[in-house]
């Protein structure tokens, strides 16, 4: 189908206001939160209903046009990077909260609904939505679903996948399936929902999502502890977890990160080699006793200062400092490159040491801010794009850090996803057999590989389908895949 004809077809489905085709306008969709990769999409469409999505995707299927769904575009691995000669389907006009069902602790939303809206919607009822990625004031539920987003509180409460109970999904052939039980648990059949969540948009587009709501805890207590270095802070983390406590959150920042945050948002953090923010929540008596235990452990590990949040405002200030960490890097460096690797908690010390060595080797600064409780690191490699060659060097150093994490039994990514950014590292973590087996799942959901092609896997697997409505495989045509 010619581009002009495709525009007309899309306009007939969405009206002229639902189709973006001017070159200049298209450019604003060329990347997501990861700005080192840019592709201008051929066409951007903005559906308002599930039926729109279905008709758009059906057209793509019939014409063999690859498509990429995008939520708020905050992803940090290029998961919503457009494909050339492809359609970008932007879900931001599907923003209705469809049903609030407090008795069953469920809420049904459209994918464009912003994460934090969900908690706001049910706050008066004493409920909230647990997954809280740092991007939660901007990022959409659909995007969270695609990436299986985490957040600072997932150590205790789990990730998006533990809180999504059902989804209506438009598959790549334009058909609609309802997966997961929704309000009732244990739908018979394969765990299709668990397979779909975190598939980075490669298995279809969710158009309606049922989430689990959680009851607000009776008591929340938060402290901030300063240490001489990350090793001592790490000792406190081990002491807390080893004591049988499951904190709601336990976050670490190193000196460089503290400096940046202090300059940017002035939370009044102490000058220290490392800071821990520890939050406990739950029944009051339990929290009170365990909070004392946490203070004790921090003291045993030579905390130079312990601040206890006296009220919600002070707690909010602690978290403001933490959640601003990425943005604050702009105050101490022009550019940064962030990784998202995970290491077993017991390897944290070794890996931090290795990162520091690598930083010295490359003569580059690396700031560390991370979810210490689950070993999810966010090393930020600082550089200046104006200095020739520095960006490449930063990326190389970040790559070395990822490999160090893998060597210590970790994972490439804890919550940002593989996207385009980390797919080259997939063979370091998985064998060809592993990846080909994973892609059987893709073959069942999207045999022609039209939904967000070129993501996650370095070499897409073709599924041995008979030629469908089109002959040449589009991702093959685009040089993104070879035939098996």
């Amino acid at each position: 189908m010619e581009r002009e004809q495709l525009i007309r077809t899309m306009e007939s489905i969405l009206g002229t206001e639902g189709v973006v085709h001017e070159r200049e306008q298209l450019r604003s969709y060329e990347c997501d939160g990861l700005m080192n990769y840019r592709v201008v999409p051929d066409l951007v469409v903005l559906p308002e209903t599930a039926e729109h999505v279905q008709r758009i995707v059906r057209t793509c299927y019939e014409e063999g046009i690859p498509f990429v769904a995008r939520g708020s575009g905050t992803g940090l691995s290029g998961g919503a990077l457009p494909v050339e000669s492809g359609l970008l389907i932007v879900m931001s006009r599907m923003r209705k909260i469809l049903e609030v069902d407090i008795p069953n602790q469920r809420i049904v939303v459209e994918p464009g609904v912003i994460n934090v809206w969900v908690s706001q919607e049910v706050a008066d009822e004493g409920y909230y939505y647990a997954p809280d990625p740092a991007s939660q004031v901007v990022s959409s539920i659909g995007g969270n679903l695609a990436e299986n987003s985490g957040g600072v509180h997932c150590l205790k409460y789990g990730f998006t996948t533990n809180h999504v109970m059902g989804a209506e999904v438009v598959l790549a052939d334009g058909s609609v399936v309802h997966i997961g039980g929704g309000k009732a648990p244990d739908a018979p059949g394969y765990e299709l929902l668990g397979s779909f969540v975190g598939s980075e948009g490669t298995l279809g587009i969710a158009t309606k999502i049922t989430l689990r709501l959680s009851r607000k805890p009776e008591s929340v207590r938060t402290l901030l502890a300063a240490f001489e270095d990350t090793e001592e802070a790490g000792g406190a983390v081990s002491g807390i977890i080893g004591g049988g406590i499951v904190p709601a959150a336990i976050e670490m920042m190193d000196a460089l990160c503290i400096e940046a945050v202090e300059t940017a948002v002035h939370p009044g953090f102490p000058q220290a080699g490392a800071i821990l923010i520890v939050e406990l929540d739950g029944p009051e008596a339990e929290v009170a006793k365990q909070f004392d235990q946490v203070i004790e452990v921090c003291e045993e590990n030579n905390a130079s200062e312990i601040r206890i949040a006296e009220d919600d405002a002070e707690r909010a200030l602690f978290w403001k400092g933490r959640k601003a960490a990425f943005a604050a890097m702009g105050r101490i460096a022009n550019d940064y490159y962030v990784q998202d690797s995970v290491v077993p908690r017991t390897e944290l010390g070794n890996v931090l040491k290795r990162i520091s060595e690598l930083g010295k080797e490359y003569e580059m600064r690396v700031a560390n801010v991370f979810h210490a409780g689950d070993g999810n690191l966010h090393p930020l490699v600082l550089y200046d794009n104006d200095n020739p060659g520095e960006a490449e060097k930063a990326e190389e150093l970040a790559g070395e850090i990822v490999l160090a994490c893998l060597e210590h039994g970790g994972s490439l990514t804890g919550e940002h996803g593989i996207g385009v950014d980390k797919k080259k590292f997939m063979p370091k973590m998985f064998t060809d057999d592993d990846m080909n087996t994973m892609q059987l799942l893709r073959c069942a959901f999207d045999p022609h590989g039209l939904s967000n092609p070129g993501k996650i896997f370095p070499t897409p697997r073709l599924c041995g389908e008979r030629p469908g409505p089109f002959h040449m495989h589009p991702i093959q045509q685009a040089g993104l895949a070879e035939n098996f």
Partner: protein
């Protein structure tokens, strides 16, 4: 003899797993009355792979088996030549207490694993009903077995963080890893959870662990009628309690809602007090003694006699009263006796149907299924005599995802050798 099994001899199997680990099947190996030819017990992932390749090339149909505690789940197999038993793959590969993570082979028994984990005050937070009978990790994952603790910790799909599987063509593939937080690649661990051995054989699993609670008490309220059962459950669900389980017992002798509170002592005492206060509007409340907890605490599904039909109704939790009324209605009219327990907080109700004739029991299931599927739930047969199974589809209707489910099966098991017929939609 079956023509397929002419392609493969006992000696072929023994060559792979050793002479003493492959044998002719006996009556006890039958699955819903279908007799396999052979039983093989591989001792490693590699042996499992070789066995599968042999079976796949020879066109042998295969049923994976752990301790065999859930072989009654699903439809009777269309065909069965070979049972691949994981019992010899029973190694706890790695337990790192500081990481709260464990890696195990599929044949490890849950009870054995818990003993090992308890030495470090940790546990795998799942207690399926078959644990005492020797249920293995692989079987629990494959059948997505769960128990009362799912109220607090979720089901095994929420605890599994990595998996190694063997596909019918012998491919050994892994996904996930040994860190709790991990979004690299597709989540095959979840896909295989509840797949009932129809996609591949689960060889090893990695799980996240939880600290063992220091203390626990169970609060119970006597229920007068089905309405108070539903209301009491809702009162618990919406309180700021952190209960480990909210359970229903409904029999001639006992009509109780029990709430398991666990944690550290001061918290438990406090919460027991709150729970008792909230429940006293629904009936007499007491804290169960240790002795009583054994039979009135969080309970397993009711025991099932040979002639009984056992079902699991999954429903929106708020519908508990309606579920109970529908069970009582569907059984009373037919002279069938129901025995009911359930995870009242999560919307799972188990019923064992006895008495009346077989047709009556089957009709009662049909009636319940008609009601609860229409209202967004499901009714799955957990166990039934083969005759009853012929009249009842074990899983009930699948939704609009059945086509996708079939495609998934075709991709993983193109020759259809794994557990043919036992799964949803005759897969």
């Amino acid at each position: 003899m079956d023509t397929r099994t002419e392609n493969v001899s006992l000696e072929d199997l023994q060559k792979i797993v050793g002479e003493e680990h492959a044998r002719e099947a006996t009556d006890e190996d039958a699955v819903d009355g279908v007799m396999p030819q052979f039983v093989a017990e591989p001792g490693s992932v590699e042996e499992t792979s070789e066995l599968m390749k042999l079976a796949n090339d020879g066109g042998l149909t295969v049923a994976p088996r752990g301790s065999g505690t859930k072989m009654g789940l699903g439809n009777p197999p269309r065909d069965l030549d070979l049972i691949v038993s994981t019992v010899r793959m029973n190694e706890i590969i790695e337990h790192v207490p500081g990481d709260q993570v464990v890696r195990v082979q599929a044949g490890v028994r849950l009870d054995d694993l818990q003993v090992q984990l308890a030495t470090e005050d940790q546990m795998l937070a799942v207690e399926p009903p078959e644990r005492g009978a020797g249920a293995t990790i692989g079987g629990i994952v494959a059948a997505n077995s769960s128990g009362p603790l799912r109220y607090r910790y979720g089901t095994i799909r929420d605890l599994i963080i990595g998996i190694t599987v063997v596909l019918p063509d012998g491919t050994i593939a892994k996904a996930g890893g040994k860190v709790v937080k991990n979004v690299a690649g597709y989540d095959l661990g979840k896909l295989f959870t509840g797949s009932l051995g129809t996609l591949g054989i689960i060889a090893t699993c990695n799980f996240r662990l939880h600290p063992r609670p220091e203390a626990g008490q169970t609060v119970a309220v006597e229920l007068g009628d089905t309405l108070s059962a539903g209301q009491a459950a809702q009162a618990m669900v919406h309180a700021q309690l952190v209960a480990s389980a909210v359970e229903l017992h409904w029999s001639e002798d006992h009509k109780l809602l029990t709430v398991l509170i666990e944690g550290i002592p001061p918290g438990v005492e406090d919460q027991v007090e709150t729970a008792s206060y909230l429940l006293k509007g629904f009936g007499d409340v007491r804290t169960l003694s240790d002795e009583e907890v054994k039979y009135l605490g969080p309970l397993d599904p009711p025991r099932v006699g040979d002639e009984d039909v056992a079902i699991k109704i999954a429903h929106p939790p708020v519908e508990l009263t309606g579920v109970l009324d529908s069970i009582l209605g569907a059984t009373e009219r037919r002279g069938v006796t129901p025995r009911i327990t359930g995870h009242a907080g999560t919307g799972i109700t188990y019923v064992a149907l006895s008495g009346g004739d077989e047709i009556a029991r089957v009709q009662a299931v049909d009636e319940l299924r008609e009601i609860w599927v229409r209202r967004g739930g499901s009714v799955v047969v957990q166990k039934a005599p083969v005759q009853a199974k012929k009249m009842l589809e074990a899983w009930g209707p699948a939704g609009d995802y059945l086509g996708l489910t079939r495609r998934m099966k075709d991709k993983f098991d193109p020759r259809g050798i794994l557990n043919p017929g036992r799964f949803v939609g005759g897969i």
